[in-house]
Point group: D2
Chain length 308, copies 4
């Protein structure tokens, strides 16, 4: 099975975890969702992240979702989020999913970390726990974790651990961080792949700053695929035109907590999954919010038609 590397590029969609209305995992929808994401042009998937409701699964469920996703992915790369309160659980889950054929694992820092040394020390113990042969994605997401990682601290971690091949970048603001990381590479630090999150809200600028693609879960992955392609071609105005067409809905989906309900609503509406159900705790989309989403989708459709 393919592994991610420091040269991985493209769009890795942050997958939701489909549930049935009774809260059980909807295995059939795992299949249809995987098909949907790849049909829309995704290069890979990332499952069991924060927006994948990973903490709401038992470990055996997490492994089952991984197994099913990998089976359907047909050899295309799938990264698995394995963040957990302790190293033993991280190690156990990593071994299980890598044995199943995952392309790598992703770990966010626990929110108790503060100093640069604490952060570097944490990733050292993670690498020691999972082994240096497992490709690791460092998730830098201060808005949720509360952990701020300076570019030079990231650089020191990358230098110390070659198995950390990718940064899931979702600092906010984060554009200068991409420039700083790429500048450090230009001065000799080894390369890492940088895929960006934050719902795609800064994707055009991120790509121009040197990012390798997107790792986020906006319910229209074709936007990310298209923007990455146009940007790679240097068609920056066309990339921005496409981005702008989706931006009103993207912005609406990027609401902490509430956004997952929007995402699942749109994915269900598009046929990717059968139900909008989330596991508790969850905030369902009410009629007012659905009306807002539908208003935006209708307008988005018209704009895309105008773009041709």
């Amino acid at each position: 099975m393919p592994l991610i590397t420091a040269n991985t590029k493209g769009v890795f969609v942050i997958a939701v975890t489909p549930f049935r209305d009774d809260g059980a995992i909807d295995h059939a929808s795992v299949d249809s969702m995987v098909d949907f994401y790849f049909d829309k042009g995704a290069d890979g998937l990332t499952i069991l992240g924060i927006m994948g409701e990973a903490p709401k699964l038992t470990q055996s469920e997490a492994i089952e979702v991984t197994r099913r996703t990998l089976a359907r992915a047909g050899g295309r790369p799938v990264v698995v989020g394995v963040s957990a309160p302790g190293l033993a659980a991280i190690g156990e889950l990593t071994k299980a999913v890598m044995d199943l054929g995952a392309a790598g694992v992703m770990v966010a820092p626990p929110s108790s970390l503060r100093t640069d040394d604490q952060i570097a020390g944490y990733y050292r113990t993670v690498v020691e726990t999972i082994g240096t042969e497992v490709p690791l994605v460092l998730q830098d997401y201060p808005l949720t974790t509360g952990v701020q990682i300076a570019p030079k601290t990231l650089g020191a971690i990358f230098e110390a651990h070659p198995s950390i091949v990718m940064l899931k970048h979702e600092d906010w603001p984060g554009l200068q961080k991409i420039s700083d990381l790429r500048d450090a590479e230009a001065r000799g630090r080894r390369r890492v792949s940088i895929l960006c999150g934050n719902g795609g809200l800064f994707l055009v600028e991120e790509l121009r700053r040197g990012a390798d693609g997107a790792m986020t879960g906006f319910a229209y992955p074709e936007m990310m695929v298209g923007v990455c392609r146009l940007s790679a071609e240097g068609a920056h105005d066309a990339a921005q035109d496409l981005f702008d067409a989706y931006l009103p809905l993207m912005r609406y989906e990027q609401q902490p907590g509430a956004g997952l309900a929007v995402r699942k609503y749109v994915l269900a509406r598009r046929g990717a999954i059968a139900s909008v159900a989330q596991r508790r705790p969850a905030v369902p989309l009410n009629a007012a919010a659905i009306a807002e989403v539908e208003f935006l989708i209708a307008r988005q459709q018209r704009k895309l038609e105008a773009l041709g």
Copy 2:
């Protein structure tokens, strides 16, 4: 001088504080900025908020900025942010600015507050300190303060203190909070004015949920003025069209920390203030960021022309 009330509507622009390159307050730019905001259609101003770099001023400077702004505002309402670590400073500054003719004062909760009772108790002591005759704006901004205030807690505070006439709403997500607050009024709770922040990023939806307008500092206040007007007329698609034209830049300006540099850059570019200078600590806009902003402004201009 006019006071804000529970029925105040419209656009109150969150004003920046203009500095000279040497860090001194630029009094001439206070004048030009006030003119600029009202020329663009603002109904009022809010000065000395977080984006007004208020904590970086001495108290005598804060009073001087207030005096100058009020003199130039020519009788139009100006709200003054008076948040401070202690009640004595809040009381002292409130008395000073109300004596000068402010329309009301705004207070955000200190970040140490946690339980509902602590929050309610805080606003009780604020009202006791400044007096019940001073119109008070409660700033609900969890992203920055870390304090989450449930709608029912807001409602209890509003019921207890009639002098709290306005909510500066910038919870995120916050649309349902507006609906909840208006629902409570429909069931009998007294009305408060709700003006929305968050850089304007949800203004169209906020107005449809029942907000009375905007209180935020996007460097194109005419967007907010236009959206409020069109929304009031029921021209929701036109409102959204106007909003969408500005959205790419709005999104770019709404980056925590970095956003103020963008805002001052645009305001200086538009002639509202003389210098982009911020007081320390500050992150200046570098060449890459300026290029991104200019790219967005040029596109915005074309979109607005297309709208006619």
Copy 3:
């Protein structure tokens, strides 16, 4: 097997989890530790809490530690900490340990909770998940969780969920909270058992305020047992004399992070466990700290002899 109830009293020792030097669980030391705690007079045990390094165990290890502890406890009550990032894991572990014969489970609030309603809502979903027949201990530990729960919020949660039979009290300061909770019971709210944590540092006062005993892990459980007995007899000066003899070491052990190394050092020194080993991340006791602990133990011994 016995279940805890709202009338449970006495000393429940927060047990460490014994590890071998290679990081594996030391099952023989589980046995010797259980014997040690009960020999010193404990009424029950609480395993897999924060000081039991629970997040560092895999779920299968957690279940194995529970099984071994219960087997050795010989019918005496053992509470099991089941806090986890998600409800599914809480539910799964609760079912497993209750089936094994646990006396109840303990859940601390996740650190993301802020408003009173969020906290109450969390415990409602926990009770729904584990079932109303499982005795639940609410762990109130703001220093570690960051979640502050007002006495009236605790009261509302207790009223709503009769299966929450016990409060592990370790707010700091927390004496008035005990008084407030007991006052509410005097006014008609149903009783809950209150066992106190914080390393025992306020045990004398806590008992006089109405606590039912201690649930904490100081390495000399006989102090807690003795203080509870003397306090129950009304021998307050004798209780305080005993407490004071241990206080210098108790204070030293109550250092966040570093304290567990002290506790394991003393337990190993007393023969309760074979090794001081902790799982990573861990801060071992260095020579300077060991000298400080030994100095305090020697003095403590002399004071106890003087007490007779």
Copy 4:
């Protein structure tokens, strides 16, 4: 007037700010309190710290308290806390109090700081703002500020700014930090004075680790004075005996929030100040707490008599 230096040793008492029952500053009690502290053997004072209710004063009140304290101190050193949300206020207050004859100023990091570079950058701007000729105390108090500063970050800050002559040490746990800082000096880093806080709860160990004394506000400063003297003489058991006699009350006074009421109660009881009044927000000592304090004071008196 004397200035603090990197070689300052001894006991600097963290002074309370005396208020009258109506909330006004009690100037007469400032005098009696200053006399009291020096009569008990203090080497200096630190005013307007967190436990001095500094944020509750207006700036003019802060300056007036400083003036009065300095006048009464009769040439003995007085450090002034000048922490504020912004640099302009810090600069203004520093100039005022240094002109009045303060021995130095103390600044705690704002709670928004996270990375090592942010912390170092903050102290660089503080030093630039107040000038390199003003002796500066860095207050390291993570429990209250939420900012964790690694020993090597402290060392880098000390090296960069010779005017930072003192560390107010109140990390918790913090013993190893003292050892680390002194080890760095042994390897060549310039010396700084280390005075310890945390209510004195670890004073004996702190001195043996290399601290230069205490800077905290326990209401029996003679304990700190005596422990420092005995420790300097190498009489470690006698130092610990004295410490132990006061420890039960010291522990009781060291309750966040509630502790200041205890401190003011004892100081008023001892005649140092006229009233226990605090400015709002404040939690007064109720009857149950007063009984607990009196019980501890009576026992403390007997223990001290037994010590001779």
